[in-house]
Chain length 210, copies 2
Amino acid sequence: MKLYTYFRSSAAFRVRIALNVKDLRYESLFVHLAKGEHRRPEYAKVNPQGLLPTLELDDGIRLNQSLAIIEYLEDKYPRPPLLPSDAVGKARVRGLAALVACEIHPLNNLRVLQHLKRSLGQSEEQVNAWYRHWIADGLAKLEAQLDPKAKFAYGDAPTMADCCLVPQIFNAKRYDCNLAPYPTTMRVFEQCMRLEAFDRAQPAKQPDAE
Amino acid sequence: MKLYTYFRSSAAFRVRIALNVKDLRYESLFVHLAKGEHRRPEYAKVNPQGLLPTLELDDGIRLNQSLAIIEYLEDKYPRPPLLPSDAVGKARVRGLAALVACEIHPLNNLRVLQHLKRSLGQSEEQVNAWYRHWIADGLAKLEAQLDPKAKFAYGDAPTMADCCLVPQIFNAKRYDCNLAPYPTTMRVFEQCMRLEAFDRAQPAKQPDAE
């Protein structure tokens, strides 16, 4: 398999974690988001959405959207699982993953921050305030939903929810967000980062890291 | 089952469609988003994320996040299916659903528009321009990914992708977005709206419609 990735893309980071948890080998193809390489016509042929990540299967089929890719990996390589076996557990994990992927991250990705700056004329300080506002809003929701007694985001093994939580915390740290109000979230984050699958997927350990 | 819903919530609209496609009966409990009823402490007990929709099962268990709820319905009530049977098809449908749910809708929901107005001091016209910008950006991505030969968003039967596409087009129409550049998307939309399951779920046909 080949993964179109960028070290700082948190959607690609989610998929890197999932691939590592399932011990799947992949080749990395680097697309430099900050240089706008995802907007090049060559990449539009790879991914019509023009977003990262894209997973290219060995038969050449290309899949996009991080959560859809992780669900695909779960379908094809069920061990170790990234979803619980029961329907309610699955819904809980997917609900936590969606909280990050649909409520927090979309407001803070690069193209939104660039739009705020370029089209709305917001200063760097205002853009950072926007970032922190949505991190605080979203992480408060996440913290409210996590079970303080669970080891990971759901239960005692990593799931798709942790694949989303960890990159989001990396982003929050990068923008110096105050993480003190989210002790359960941060305990889960630290727990995940003790695992080699998560650690190896982090931005600084990617070959394209700057 | 009980659905906490608001006629204009497009996330609730997605779930209403899925419930109707699967011919599942449910009781509606109305939470008035524009009046901020989702921020009341009573609702925080129902849904710690403070968002719509919430699905309450007959045993009292409550699920949140529209895509997680639809996946739950698919797990428990597989007929008629809202996902194809093959892993690649599933990934394609989930990728289209995520494009709407993670890339378009989050930028345009009520709390973001309110934040732009109240905290960033954007005028109503500027907020509308923001709305239309992200609709145009997102629908172009969707249009690029849809197969012009398919009847629905994926294949010849409605899927989870259509459950997301239709409410997004309702939103776009409400904000007078130009939809001419998206002929395949609009053909799929019209196709869906011919189905009673989609029609009956639309905002104007809800008991709490204003």
